[in-house]
């Protein structure tokens, strides 16, 4: 009979997994040179360009989901806070705890993720606007991850987590 996972085991696993995604998200060099995008640039995308931006957006979506869903829930459970409320309620508790800064406006990152889910295949201007915003806000996303990581390490794992924060890009 295997022992059930405890909330802090799952939180640690999610923080480690998110760390890898965040590290890949900051390898922006290949797309940074193309920013900011406009409708004409999007129209001229090569297949390689498409794949690069798809990968970037996939990582942005993944990290947003991991912080918003798994890491937030993990921290709330470990802190014996209400983890059953709406995403908005959970985010407010995270901000109250000090695990997310309100200035990061993490809720707008989650809204941006929802917006990415809409496809605008025939609107290059809209695609450019969304990708520019994803690029611009990726630093806030990583900052949000780092803040949740620092909080969990200090308050839940007593400094023994051993996961380094992800350096934000110079891009």
């Amino acid at each position: 009979m295997s022992a059930a996972y405890q909330p802090n085991d799952l939180l640690e696993a999610n923080l480690r997994g998110a760390n890898k995604v965040a590290a890949r998200l900051v390898s922006l060099d290949r797309i940074a040179s193309m920013m900011p995008l406009d409708a004409e640039k999007v129209d001229r995308f090569s297949d390689d360009d498409e794949e690069r931006f798809d990968a970037f957006i996939y990582r942005f979506n993944s990290l947003t989901a991991m912080v918003q869903d798994h890491i937030t829930r993990g921290i709330l459970l470990c802190e014996e806070e209400d983890a059953g409320g709406s995403k908005r309620d959970q985010r407010h508790v995270m901000e109250k705890l000090g695990a997310l800064k309100p200035e990061l406006q993490f809720g707008t990152l989650a809204e941006l993720r929802n917006r990415i889910a809409h496809h605008y295949p025939d609107d290059n201007r809209k695609q450019a606007e969304i990708m520019n915003e994803v690029f611009a806000r990726s630093q806030d996303l990583i900052a949000g991850y780092n803040m949740a990581l620092a909080y969990a390490d200090a308050k839940i794992f007593q400094g023994g987590l051993g996961i380094l924060p992800v350096a934000t890009s110079s891009a």
């Binding site: 809720g107 707008t108 809204e111 941006l112 969304i130 611009a136």
Partner: protein, 100 residues
Amino acid sequence: MRLTASEVDAIKTCAKTVFGEGVSVRLFGSRTNDAAAGGDIDLYIEPPSDELSTLRNELAFKLKLMDAIGDQRIDVVLRSPMGTRRPIDRIASETGIPLL
């Protein structure tokens, strides 16, 4: 229309905060129909300048409004910058109820 007075106040306050004075807001879609039930809150927003008609402002407005009125389904259509006229601009302008 099917919005409470406090919801209308919240929409006005959030719109002015994010887009500034001079912003215009219209309610369109199913919430304009008193006989219907439920439905998203569809808002058509015309910022006072193209510079304010950004995705970032749209998301900030939506988040601020949800903080004010709770978790409701809110759809925002911003007037397209640079004067591009889409079908949705015409529909919202012609059928929407001015809130601000």
